[in-house]
Each structure stands twice: as C-alpha cells, then as structure tokens.
C-alpha cells in the first residue's frame, strides 16, 4: 500500500505546518483502519469504537513522540497495540496480543474489510475443516479447482460437489443469522 504511505507522509508534512484540515484528514484516514484492527482482535467488537477513540486521543496527546523523519506505520501500530493490551488489562483479561508487522494497520485498504472478515471467519468455522480448506483456496485465494482438490484429498469431481455443498450450507447459515 504505497499509496497510503505517500498520502500519510504528505498529510503529516502539511499538519507539521499547522494545517488543521490535513491533520483532521490524517485522523479520519486512521479511524477506519483502527476500527478494523480492533474489531478483529477484541473479543467484544462493541468495545472497538471506544478503543478507536482512545487511540485517536493517544495519537494526539503523544504526537510529540513521533519523529517525522521515521516511518509512521510502526509508531501508530505501537500505540494501537498498547491501547489494546491496556484494554485487556483493565478488563482483567489475560490475553496475548501478538506482535505483528506494523503494516497490518495501514494496509487494510477497505474500511469494511475488518468487520466482513469477522463475519466470514465465523461462517467458515461452521464448515468441516476439509471443506473449509478447499473453499478458502478456491474462493479466497483464487486457485483453480484442479489445483486445490489434491491438496485437500479430493478428486476434481468430488471437489466440485464439496464446493457446491459448502456454498449451500454457507448461504443457509447466513439466512439463519439474519433471522
């Protein structure tokens, strides 16, 4: 996501010169990415908005600790992860928050991606493991059925049938969820 890095750098450069609009834009750019990050990692997604706000405030009050000569992603990722750990600590939950590549935060191009992925993971988890693996390879990773079938112990024909069944049971679960 080179685009987003460039955009962020130019917004930072402008807000350094006291441009409030650019600074607001920068925060608006971060908010949905923070939201996606927290929704995926917090056990209770309704906490995500509080975490987004806390993190934005922390970014603001601690902005003097950012050195404009250094990359922005690791700084903002460090703050978001700290706020997530702090959130668990205050809830008395002991939970390991893995250290990821700082890029995960900014690279979420689509603002809806975080929430959608949670739903998708939940639905997929209801499928048997073998069907799920096949479906992920074909529908999410873009492999052909011929490529993916042997990886999961299917013949090509059986894989087609399994895929069809998986999609059917997925749409049944979606329908059940919406009731």
């Amino acid at each position: 996501m080179e685009d987003i890095d460039l955009q962020i750098q130019s917004l930072i450069a402008r807000s350094l010169r006291g441009d409030g609009a650019a600074y607001g834009q920068l925060l608006s750019l971060l908010a949905p990415r923070l939201r996606a990050y927290f929704i995926r990692r917090s056990p209770d997604p309704s906490d995500a908005e509080d975490l987004v706000q806390e993190t934005l405030i922390a970014i603001h009050t601690k902005r003097a600790t950012y050195d404009p000569a250094l990359p922005f992603a690791p700084w903002v990722y460090g703050i978001a992860r700290y706020k997530l750990i702090d959130h668990f600590r205050r809830r008395g939950v002991r939970r390991h928050v893995p250290l990821e590549e700082a890029g995960v935060l900014l690279d979420q191009a689509d603002t809806e991606v975080g929430a959608t992925r949670v739903d998708l993971q939940r639905l997929l988890s209801r499928l048997p493991a073998r069907q799920r693996g096949l479906l992920e390879d074909v529908r999410l990773r873009g492999m052909t059925i011929a490529e993916a079938a042997p990886l999961h112990g299917y013949s090509e024909g059986a894989a087609k049938v399994a895929l069809h069944r998986s999609m059917k049971s997925l749409s049944a679960s979606v329908a059940a969820d919406e009731d």
Binding site: A21, A64, W75, Y77
Partner: protein, 213 residues
Amino acid sequence: MKTDDLIAALALEPGFPGPGRLAGRLVLWSGAGALVAAVLTVVAMGPRPDLSEGPGLASFMGKAGFTLTLAAAGLWLTRRLGQPGVSARRPLLALILLIGGGGAAMAVELAMTPPSARAAQLMGHSAVSCPLVILGLGLLVLGPALAAARRLAPLRPGAAGAAVGLLAGGLSATAYGLHCAESAVSFLVVWYGLGVLATAVMGAALGARFLRW
C-alpha cells in the same frame, strides 16, 4: 461522543513537533534534580577534602566520567523506550558494553592488587552507606525525571521507568562523588553500581505505575 466529532475537535491543534523537545525537557528536569542532589551533598556531607588537589580531582573526574556515561545511557534508553515503533537495541548494547568495561577495569585493578589487600580495597571505608546515599539522592532526581518522562509514550512503562532510574542514579552517583573520597575502581563499580541499580529498580517500580498512558 461520535468519532467524527472527536476528530474535528483534535484537528484544531495540528502538528508533529518531533521528539527533540521531550528530550530537552528530560535533560532539564533531571538536571535540576541533580543540582539539588549536588548542593545537598556539598552542604550536608561536605566536599571530599582533596577535591581541589591533583589526584583527588582526577579521581573525582574519573568516577564522574563513568557515572555520567551511565546517566547518558539511561537518557538514550529512555528516549528510545518512550517512542513507539523504534528499537532500543543500540542503547541497550551501549549499556552492556559500559558495564562490561567497568567489570574489565575492575578485574585488572584486582589482579594488580596483592591478594591480601583486595578485600580492603573493595570495601573501602564506606561500602554500606555509599549505595544507600546514592539511592536517597537518586530519588530526588528520579521524581522530576519521571515527571518529565510522563510526556513520553512507553510501550513498556516498567522498562522505561528503569531507564529513567538509570539516568537518575547516574546523576545522583556523580553528585555523591563530590563528597566520597573512595578512589578504587572496584569500589566504584560495585558500590556505586549497586546504588545506581537500586535507583533503576525504584524507577522500574514507579514507572510501571506512573508512566502508563
């Protein structure tokens, strides 16, 4: 409050001033604490009698060189630990080298001392009080230094507190050197080192509490 409203409110104060000012503040506040510690040392305990003479002055300068370098490592470490997204590996490495250097110098000195005189040299005349006084003076420096460090954003507040404690302990040990006439390297490394370490431990305990954000 809606997130968009929050952003609009925050956007009224734009800018990324950069961490230079934070470091300056840390130096200023811990320096003020060190000044108080130095004045207290001279007024309450008195300067070492040989401070104005050649060998005494050289001994003071040598010790101050070591303890000020410890303080500088503490400052460097504090800056790195207080800044999200940067690595503290280099200041940590510097600190390890410094301690290793002190240990090596001590080994050389002990090797050159007759075995029967080693214990007396290591213990000097003030082995027990030295670390306690350094810790006591160190707390005077630690207070303002921690207050300045609250502006930082340490991802590990306890570790950052220990770094602030190293800064405070190094400065306090330097101030105490104005009074203490011990000049053995082994005394410096062990007893001054213990006082600085104790201040760093206090810093870790206080930092875990007061450097959260």
